[in-house]
């Protein structure tokens, strides 16, 4: 059985239908890219999967690891192994990155009936993952994302992902606003987390990111539906012809 099974998913925001019947099946070990023009619903899909309450699911179902995902609170989805890297990571003044990460990791471990990680092991883990993301350790004692540059915020997202080791990682336009050097660091971090047990959904507008995170499958979203699916070569095709051709083909 697949890790994530999305069937005929419909979702609204503020009464307007954004997702109009998404079907998608993802197995452990696979990386799926979801591409599409602005307003196609790709970020909405990411948000709905992570449980953002701004979006109302009006139909369909999502089964994650054998469980009904849509029934779960956002924190339970995270504890079950879903991680979304935010397009716009939120600043949380007054909460240190270190404290935040420890609270998050221990919440996930508790759910798995594992004891809290002791301080030394935790710090060791954190330092290892920071090195992977080429992050300065001083960021640990700073408030979460507060005063971080755009690049630091995106790295921080992938760093959190590396610490929390989810089963399904959803990257919501992680490439937006990154220069090429930062993009490479982020992509390296993501690639280091690729494993046969882990699936990824990479939501992006541009093909550029997919040069560094090479997907197994590419899906094109337009007007709330997947209009085309293919292998990694589909992304290149899009790069050549743009979304207009694809949408025309679907219509």
């Amino acid at each position: 059985m697949s890790l994530l099974e999305i069937k005929n998913l419909h979702a609204n925001v503020a009464g307007r239908e954004i997702l109009k019947g998404i079907d998608l099946s993802i197995n452990a070990g696979e990386v799926h890219a979801i591409m599409g023009p602005n307003g196609s619903g790709k970020s909405t899909l990411a948000q709905v999967l992570s449980g953002r309450d701004l979006y109302q699911v009006t139909g369909g179902q999502v089964v994650f690891d054998g469980k009904d995902l849509l029934e779960m609170a956002p924190e339970d989805r995270a504890r079950e192994g879903i991680f979304m890297a935010f397009q716009y990571p939120v600043e949380i003044p007054g909460v240190s990155n270190l404290y935040f990460l420890k609270a998050a990791l221990n919440a996930v471990r508790k759910h798995q009936n594992l004891p809290d990680l002791d301080a030394m092991d935790f710090l060791g883990l954190v330092k290892e993952k920071m090195a992977l993301m080429e992050m300065d350790q001083s960021l640990l004692n700073r408030a979460v994302n507060t005063g971080f540059s755009g690049g630091e915020k995106k790295r921080n997202e992938i760093f959190q992902m590396a610490v929390l080791e989810p089963k399904l990682a959803i990257l919501d336009e992680t490439d937006s606003g990154l220069d090429i050097d930062a993009l490479k660091v982020v992509a390296n971090g993501v690639n280091a987390l690729r494993s046969p047990e882990r699936a990824m959904i990479v939501v992006t507008h541009y093909q550029r990111l997919l040069n560094y995170i090479v997907p197994d499958f590419v899906h094109v979203l337009a007007e709330g539906r997947i209009v085309k699916s293919g292998g990694k070569e589909l992304a290149l095709e899009l790069e050549e012809s743009g979304y207009v051709g694809i949408e025309g083909e679907a219509a």
């Binding site: 924190e75 939120v90 949380i92």
Partner: protein, 376 residues
């Protein structure tokens, strides 16, 4: 000597009585629950903790007469505040805390007051006079707690800080749920003195704190405040910083967390007198309002008579950021914990300014307890 100022206070109180909401300073705080209650004098004893070495402590009744003549009641005016008059007329005894010139005391001087009311409402009027000599350093901690009965605690503390002295004052108020607490802290600073107040208010049904500081040349005065109220609690913080002389700086940060049907008042007065050129005053009041039924009245009151000064003020009233809560949830942190984490984060900078370690630990415990006890 004490009898004379008592008599003056008694007369003053008889003349004016309790303030009403027609008085501008009491507009949002009705003390009728206090004025309606018949209190009997509390039998609580003066605190007698172990004081650190170097401090000289005596009961006011046994204190050197010349010092009392010179200082007692000279700063906290019975004319401007009825509750000061009430305290002055009624305090049973009080403490004189003398920090001699040049003496540096690292251990905090802790005054712990515990009130109780078994059956009949009681009133206590703790009175403290702190005289800190020039170049002295000291930390004073006042804590007020009590049982669940109806009682009034009406403390008045006068602090006279000499030139170049450094005084930290902490007041932790965790009175019982039916308590009335009306306090006055009056500070007179010598030139280049550095004074820091931390006012932490959590308990009581009806609480009013007045802090008034008069600054001399080159002083630095910091007023930090944190209040957390829920249910039907009412808290009113009135502060007044009087920049009487040039080159003084004041920094004020008060933060409030309101839940339930609680109400809060913040009134921050900054007076910059004509002489007080080069004054640098900054005032901030931030409120986190967690329920639709809670009410905050916040008002800066700036009177600036000098022309070469820098004065800034700002007040905010906000709710928890839903984006922040979702972000924490999306990392596995439960909704209630996420909420509490953000509330705690809001209070963080005030908590971090507390240098007395056990007090900070206690404050963190209180915050956690208060937050876990609430569900709204």
């Amino acid at each position: 000597m004490i009898e004379r100022i008592r008599e003056e206070a008694r007369q003053r109180f008889n003349d004016v009585g309790f303030p009403t909401t027609h008085d501008e300073d009491w507009r949002f705080t009705s003390v009728s629950p206090i004025s309606r209650t018949a209190f009997v004098p509390s039998t609580a004893l003066l605190p007698s903790p172990v004081f650190p070495k170097g401090v000289e402590i005596s009961k006011l009744s046994e204190a050197p007469r010349d010092l009392l003549e010179q200082h007692l009641g000279r700063y906290a005016s019975v004319q401007t505040n009825s509750f000061v008059a009430l305290n002055t007329a009624n305090f049973q005894d009080g403490l004189l805390i003398l920090i001699p010139k040049g003496v540096v005391i690292e251990e905090p001087i802790h005054l712990a007051y515990e009130s109780s009311a078994n059956g009949q409402p009681t009133a206590s009027h703790p009175r403290t006079l702190v005289i800190a000599g020039a170049d002295s350093h000291a930390t004073i901690v006042e804590t007020y707690a009590g049982d669940g009965g109806a009682y009034l605690t009406n403390p008045v503390t006068e602090i006279v800080a000499g030139d170049h002295s450094l005084i930290d004052h902490y007041k932790l108020q965790t009175e019982g749920a039916r308590a009335f607490h009306v306090s006055t802290l009056q500070i007179q600073l010598g030139s280049n003195a550095n004074f820091r107040s931390h006012s932490l208010s959590f308990g009581g049904a009806l609480v009013r704190n007045d802090i008034n500081a008069v600054l001399s040349e080159g002083c630095e005065c910091t007023l930090n405040g944190l209040y957390l109220v829920a249910g039907d609690q009412h808290i009113d913080n009135h502060t007044c910083i009087d920049h009487a002389k040039p080159h003084a700086a004041s920094h004020e940060l008060y933060k409030g967390i309101l839940q339930g049907r609680s109400t809060a008042v913040f009134n921050g007065k900054i007076l910059v007198r004509k002489d007080a050129q080069k004054t640098d005053a900054k005032q901030t009041n931030k409120n986190l309002v967690l329920s639709e039924d809670a009410v905050i009245n916040t008002k800066p009151e700036l009177q600036i008579l000098a022309d070469d000064v820098r004065c800034t003020h700002g007040a905010t009233i906000g709710q928890l950021d839903p984006e922040g809560i979702f972000y924490l949830q999306s990392r596995g942190i439960g909704r209630v914990e996420a909420r509490n984490l953000l509330i705690f984060a809001f209070a963080r900078d005030i908590v971090d300014r507390i240098k007395v370690e056990p007090l900070r630990a206690q404050l963190e415990r209180i915050l956690l307890e208060k937050l876990h006890g609430s569900r709204n």
